[in-house]
Amino acid sequence: MVENTSLRSEVAPILRLRDISKKYYTRDGGVFYALKEVSLDVMPGETLALVGESGSGKSTLARMALNLAKPDAGWVELAGHRTSEMSAQEMKPHRSKIQPVFQDSSATFNPRRTVRQILAQAMRSTSNPDDAEVEAKSIAILEQMSLRPAQQILKRFPHELSGGQRQRLNIARAICVNPSIIVADEPLSGADVSIRGKVLNLLRDIQEQAGVAYLFITHDIAVSHAFANRIAVMHEGKIVEYGEAREVVESPKHPYTKVLIESALLGRERLDALR
């Protein structure tokens, strides 16, 4: 990790998480650490996969990165600004730089707003574009997401879209404010394998065009291997392994990473042998 930072020393990380801890008190008076001294850097334009199982703390960390929750200790820096110490009001001018894409695409939209209103609200929340600008940008983004015909889609309500279309609208809403980093929390869960490749291709296209970085949260180490530049493995609130994606998957060092890879490979040795 030290080498990584020195290698990229000319470029500052877009997101820095330092020594973040979050604790909860259990019913019997004990202390439970959801996160314990977690540190991560996301570089501009890169994909960092945060891999872990349910309860590992990865979604809690995502909320801290987005300043939707405060750490008990440690800090978050977004493009050089200490966002973890900001109030919601102070966060406002920085909000457009970091955007979420959550897992449940149906729960993140106001059901009584049309696609047009959803995108317009997102754009107006961070700047003051006029109606013509909003309309032009909405159409351009829907086209980019292959949500066609864009004019028709703009009139729809979220429930009138398919699951895959809603997921793309989720991504559209995130990128319409030109963020520097997107925190994507399990964007593929619930997607069939035939859809998975399409979502990944789309995310990669956006990254190439807009230079956006991804903090890609997933339980799937195979997807991380194929999609991310670097991987951080989380287990019981701690980062147990952190490095280049290929290195982590092909020569894991921590026993938990080994178990995770072994479990994910189940049945696949047989498939590979048939190749």
Partner: protein, 269 residues
């Protein structure tokens, strides 16, 4: 006698309010074997599984088949419910919705033993089952909500095998579980099959899960079986383009432009 299939279902069709979701499929499960049905969301695989035990809503589902045999004996439509538990049992993706939230799990397992079993020592059988599914004795009086997802699935498996069924149908049994837990549940299913000769019909969208457990497979899409055969034949030398694309998508293969391979011309997403 050895080769008499535990389940043979011919020309199964299912329609919901006139919409055909299963279009004449024929399914055979040989004794003691593990057979998989692989397919994506909406392919009709769960509908096939539920039809076998007559679990589809009678008011809306129209079910038709030309032959239904269990261990060589023809089964009439009205006899299907009597197969449940003793001959064929089933486990599901979300065990929590199949467990009684206000009943301790050992009582729920006991209920199943009493309901279907003969004159057994119920307590002894419950302990035996808990042991079989490797549920710690200390958890036997827990309520479902006090258990982890993996433990709940073990409880459901204990209930399913309580009456020593000849066939266990597992519909996405590990989809909601973490990969490390998934591996343990699959091990358990494999051990049950080895110990009791129980046949297994595994429904999944996950090629890895199917390959880990099954010898034979049916590939399902849009209500039809596109191909079937041994895993080695179907996945080693797929006949339908759908199967080959499924294999490529699963491996996250890249094309010459460095993009993930996806289904050509599929506009449905």
């Amino acid at each position: 006698m050895q080769s008499t299939p535990v389940l043979h279902l011919k020309d199964l069709s299912v329609a919901f309010r006139g919409v055909r979701v299963v279009k004449g499929v024929t399914l055979t499960v040989p004794p003691g074997e593990a057979v998989g049905i692989i397919g994506e969301t909406g392919s009709g695989k769960s509908t096939v599984a539920r039809s076998i035990l007559g679990l589809l809503p009678e008011e809306t589902a129209e079910i038709g088949f030309s032959e239904y045999q269990v261990e060589g004996k023809p089964i009439s439509r009205s006899a299907i419910p009597s197969l449940r538990g003793g001959k064929i049992a089933m486990i599901f993706q979300d065990p929590l919705s199949y467990l009684n939230p206000i009943m301790r799990i050992d009582k729920q397992i006991a209920e199943s033993v009493q309901l279907h079993g003969k004159d057994e020592n119920v307590d002894r059988r419950v302990s035996e089952l808990l042991d079989l599914v490797r549920l710690p004795v200390s958890r036997k009086s827990s309520y479902p909500h006090e258990l982890s997802g993996g433990m709940r699935q073990r409880v459901l498996i204990a209930i399913a095998i309580a009456c020593r069924p000849r066939l266990l149908i597992a519909d996405e049994p590990t989809t909601a579980l973490d990969v490390t837990t998934q591996a343990k549940v699959l091990d358990l299913l494999r051990d049950i099959r080895a110990a009791f000769g129980t046949s297994l019909l595994l429904i999944s969208h996950d090629l890895g899960v199917i390959s880990a457990l099954c010898e034979k497979i049916y590939v399902m899409r849009h209500g039809e079986f596109l191909e079937s055969g041994s895993i080695d034949t179907v996945f080693g030398n797929p006949q339908s383009t759908y199967t080959s694309t499924l294999l490529e998508a699963d491996r996250l293969l890249l094309d010459e432009n460095g993009r993930f391979k996806t289904f050509e011309g599929d506009q449905t997403w």
